[in-house]
Amino acid sequence: MVTAMTKLVKVIIDDREYDFPAGMNLVDAAKQVDVTIPVFCYHPKMKPVGMCRMCLVEVGNIQKDRATGEVLLDDSGNPQIRWMPKLQTACTMNVSDGLVLRSTSKAVDEARRNVVEFLLTSHPLDCPICDKGGECPLQNQTMEYGPGESRMNFEDKKHLDKHVPLGDLIFLDEERCIQCGRCVRFQAEVAGDDVLAFHERGRDLQIITVSDPGFDTYFSGNTTDICPVGALTTTDFRFGARPWEMNSVPTLCNHCPVGCNTSASTRLDRDFGGKTMIKRIMARQNEQVNEIWMCDKGRFGHHFTRSEDRLLQPMVRAAGGSLSRETWADAVAAAAKLLGDANGSVAVIAGPSATNEDLFTLKQLAAGVGSTRLGAWPPTHAGADLVAKVGVGKGTNLSNLGKGDAVLVIATDLEEEAPIWRLRVKTAHDRGAYVVVANARKTRMDDFADAVTMYQTGHAATAFADLRKQHPEVAERLINANNLVVFAGAEGLTLDGSRALMQACANFLIETNHVGRANNGLVGVFPGANAMGQHYLGFSPEATRDIIANPPKVLILAQADVVADDPAAAAWLSKVETVISLSLFDDEATRQAKVVLPVQSFAERDGSYTNGERRVQRFYTAQGPIGEAIPAWQAVARIAEKLGQGKARLSAAQVMNDIVAAIPAFAGCKYSDLAKVEAQFPQVGGDDLYYGGTSYKNTGGLGVQIASAADNGEAVALGDVKADAVKGDLIVVPTVRLYNRERVFQASEAQLMAARVAAPYVEINAEDAARLAIHDGDMVQVSAGAAQPVKVRAHVNGAAPKGTVLLPRNLQQTATALTIAAGTVTKV
């Protein structure tokens, strides 16, 4: 990172003098001043290896008198330059004072021509059927620097396997691979999942996977982006379209709180009724959010937008009868009538992928009929209000964390709940940040931690409050860190336990003065894409709890699949007289509703989300409409209009203007502000495909981060930590798996990831298993609290601590425990 402190050095590139911060990579430096040094293996996000030799340049040094330090001049008064005898790989050099670089010369041109010719001797040249053809750095550089003709005897061409599945998601074409090692290095250096390797030598060298199942990582798709040729292709996109046929639409991932900026490549499709369809999703550069990466769930999890069980038409239930299709006008009128007759006994529960616009219109509708009962779904994570107070400071960028800084990850399995945060914390750890992981069980994050502290299941808050006593050396490092970011989840906690933990974290941050500045503060690892939006727009999990306890007459469910998440949902839903469902899918709660309004997914509409770091970001319409579905905010606004609450807005942008006017937190978040972009480093993407990589460029906007209360200089007070723990012989802890069978992932699972989504299972400690006579692989019945018992397979693999069983949520159609509860496990 370039700071004001960094020393500047003078470098001469192609006879012009420039100043660069010392230590900058030569290729990056040249790129900054628009001097192109072609590369294949070098990538600014990884350490240089100098493998491909494409970046050869002439390099020299200005000669200085050793005694005086004076620059020596030649006869004509120019500085004397001592050129290195051979060409040098620019990617392995950093700028230094007096360095002279010639990016083009006869020798350099010749070297590049030879490198390209040599690469092409073993290249299949099947660009016509290659997914990268048209956006391929090898094609571009062959045209730019390569020889015009081949001298290759085609009989001598090496034929290798062209169809090697590295895993379920990625295929390797061994012939196309130019052995740059980017994929191997990405997995080892950036992702930390060392699952690829080189095998054999010379032209026989191939990329192999060393994991079982193959290519076992949540980040595999990124390798296809950075591969400078078409050697790696995704099962999802293979042959989907040619790159020049597609439009690239800026959008967002809606699967987790990271809020990765993505770009959807779209094209008309005959099988999709001739409408525009998302063919692939790729990362879009936002250095503060996801850099240039994204996880495979986001990349491949777009199939739900076109799944079979999408609702196509509004439906209304005749008195005591079944649902029948209606026009929008009739359905809206029916919903308005139900709400108008409810006498104020109305509540809303909104799911985690409802957008800011949806939530705001819902809030207004509820207010219009005299209700302020706004619940957030799922009601598992408390403390968003604390994040609004002491959340990470404006301008936070996890990439800036390094030596002297610290990160605490508590009560969350970051890899499963927010993969890109896990990747970025891992790279912060590599840069020297002190990473502490605290949980009641082992998680993947432990592999990248400097200290792992275990606490008793359910006691996160007290354990953390006691950190200074129990682990003084760890506490010391956190307290004294220059910058401290805390990621707090709610694994193994009740809603009150979650609030207690968030409060303990907030207290610690306030006490140690780690609030109100960039790179310091709290991040809630909440479910879904818009939990912070829910908070700012008045939706809370506590309200949901109250709605469940005191059912209203009319309940609006907005994209909340309550029955699939909560085993108790059927019971509490039955106490609600009327359900109005705004849903994408024909889900269980929708089937019980009186009025069903089909709404659009993120793919078909404009909207905005507020991510876990409180960044408001917008997405654009990518895909053609499905049936008669409309955006949720529009459906809600039409009901409000019918109730005489004022005219419905015409666009999401107008709704955002209303939000900006009504909610102070959203000041400066108009769509035009959210769409602003500025230059980012490294400059990846763009038409020149400089570093390879395909659709990185951000044209849709970087978003705007909402200031925390601490940022605004408001005094933030300490709060009481009210511990709350569940007691019992055996405690069932619901966990989250990234790949699961939620409705928003089912279609992708069916088409691509069937083998990657675990069969329903429960993890039991060996001692408990022995006591209950359960062996690894047995079918067992798990009951937790009041929930219906479920039959799953037992895993006795050392993952669960004694007295605790881990029951992943959403791996099956029947809901399993939503929050921690005492339970039993019996063999069946």
């Binding site: 299949p124 040249l125 099947d126 016509p128 059927i129 003709e149 081949s150 001298r151 290759m152 005897n153 085609f154 009989e155 062209k162 169809h163 293979r238 042959f239 989907g240 379209a241 040619r242 020049w244 046929e245 499709d269 005959r270 099988d271």
Partner: protein, 164 residues
């Protein structure tokens, strides 16, 4: 005098065989390179030459071609290599019969033939689908998809020629 010369010419031509052709009953032979309606060619073994690369569509100045590709398997093989055209359509109302598609094709799959009598009563009928464009197989040769021996047809582009 002049008038006689004029009449002589007239009478000479009167006695000559007329050059008018009674089209459409009669048809003159086509020039070898006449560009008429397209054909999608097959290899002798019945596999389709088209590999669904859409270079023809990219080259087409009239945006008349629509290609959607899919993946071959050895159990269901349409063309050599991994990729084939699942959808291939040419809108004959748009086509200007320039032949750029033919030039662009890496496998010589799309070729403009001699047929030129194209008329439609409906715009929809002007869209020629793959079924209409593809050559029939020779007698005794299987059509596509074919089940083939694994590992034989691994390459999409026919063998390249050595530089001369």
């Amino acid at each position: 005098m002049n008038i006689l010369r004029g009449f002589a010419t007239t009478f000479k031509h009167l006695l000559e065989e007329p050059i008018t052709v009674q089209y459409p009953e009669q048809m003159r032979p086509f020039r070898e390179r006449y560009k008429g309606r397209h054909h999608l060619r097959r290899y002798e073994n019945g596999l389709e030459k088209c590999i669904g690369c859409a270079l023809c569509a990219a080259a087409c100045p009239a945006d008349a071609i629509w290609v959607e590709a899919a993946e071959n398997t050895d159990e269901q093989r349409f063309s050599p290599g991994e990729r084939y055209a699942k959808t291939y359509e040419i809108n004959m109302l748009r086509c200007i019969f320039c032949g750029y598609c033919e030039d662009a094709c890496p496998t010589q799959a799309i070729q403009l033939g001699h047929e030129h009598q194209l008329s439609f009563t409906d715009r929809q009928d002007a869209i020629f689908t793959k079924d209409m464009l593809i050559d029939p197989t020779a007698i005794g040769v299987a059509g596509t998809p074919q089940q083939v021996e694994p590992g034989v047809y691994t390459r999409s582009i026919p063998d390249m020629e050595n530089p001369r």
